[in-house]
Point group: C2
Chain length 218, copies 2
């Protein structure tokens, strides 16, 4: 059965999934890039970029599992780019260059309509202005038999946790402090009471946690 | 050399060291007692209470190490009790009964003067109204060759992290969510940039982190 999943979200020991002062030169905020260093050292990440090397192990296994069987992704607009308000020329086409690493449809939640954007490698960005619930229906249709990934940022994940749309959540606690930024686990109105821990996996670099919605885990 | 230490602070995955709605029936706030369950299952905790049983292992070892060579403790008033404002009869004598588990001088930061309170088993509570810096000087004198423990709560630890008074910090991340309460790592004005991770120890129940001030670790 198709699942709605969050995977490979890295948070600091003070709970931030991005640092302060996000901008075009610092898409994950000041210091935020350090959150993702463990990813780039895995064999799984190198494979995604058709590169040699990288280490096998728990980090790589969990990363690889997260990317398996994905049919579509949904993200917030701030994760798509630094542009706010109306789309203006030159149009922002995402952080990821001509061939984004998704290779499937990506739905961007926004208040500002825009034509769908076809990129190389099978990634198409669709811009959805009908709100999160309507977007989730479109994403489910587009995903077919594949899973749906809620890709971020923090407020988009929180929205879908509050509505219990998310079945599974995998995140990694990285032993750093960012001091400020966007917290993943905030403004949840008790949503996590409906989830349970289904796995804790320490690795040399981080500690992985997997949580599942209580009814989803039965 | 004598050290100023924080040890055995338990925080949830969303960063809280106590739950919401702290009161006389829920000294660690709603749900907060779950943060400490791992402690009571250790051999070291049973020893402290002169009880049999309890499990050996990383949890027990780190707990035991935290309690070794302590000369004095400093805590905030809210950790001493639920009383706010002036001390009124019947006087509150702490959460810990007639024989508190400290067995050394404990300095309570407060704005409201009060006579020192001698308990059984070597614990004396002193009430310090001259502020955190003055209190720390008194605690250092009282500690002699022993270490000084900053016992909490969150705002007291934050205060001594901001002033870099703390040399070492040991905390455990417990795989639960509390949703609200007091966060340990908040309002730190970048203080943690002056600390570095000196150990990460996963156990079956929690993940332990040890941090040290950069100059203290050299």
């Amino acid at each position: 059965m198709t699942k709605v999943r969050v995977h490979t979200i890295s948070i600091s020991l003070d709970g931030f999934m991005s640092g302060p002062d996000q901008n075009i030169d610092a898409p994950i905020g000041r210091g935020g890039h350090v959150l993702h260093e463990w990813i780039f050292e895995t064999r799984a990440a190198r494979e995604l970029h058709a590169q040699a090397g990288g280490a096998e192990g728990a980090d790589s296994d969990l990363l690889r599992a997260g990317f398996e069987n994905v049919g579509a992704t949904i993200i917030g607009r701030n994760m798509f780019g630094p542009v706010r308000g109306d789309w203006t020329e030159p149009l922002w086409n995402g952080w990821w260059g001509e061939d984004p690493p998704f290779h499937h449809p990506v739905f961007v939640l926004t208040h500002h309509p825009r034509e769908s954007l076809v990129m190389a490698g099978g990634t198409t960005f669709h811009f959805v202005t009908d709100g999160a619930d309507a977007a989730l229906e479109m994403v489910k249709e587009a995903a077919g038999d594949g899973d749906i990934i809620v890709g971020g940022g923090a407020s988009t994940i929180q929205q879908f946790l509050r509505s219990r749309a998310i079945d599974e959540l995998h995140f990694a606690v990285v032993p750093i402090f960012l001091g400020a930024g966007e917290r993943l686990f905030d403004d949840l109105d008790g949503a996590m009471d409906h989830y349970q821990c289904v796995g804790t996996t320490p690795s040399k670099r981080v500690t992985h946690y997997r949580w599942a919605r209580v009814d989803a885990a039965l």
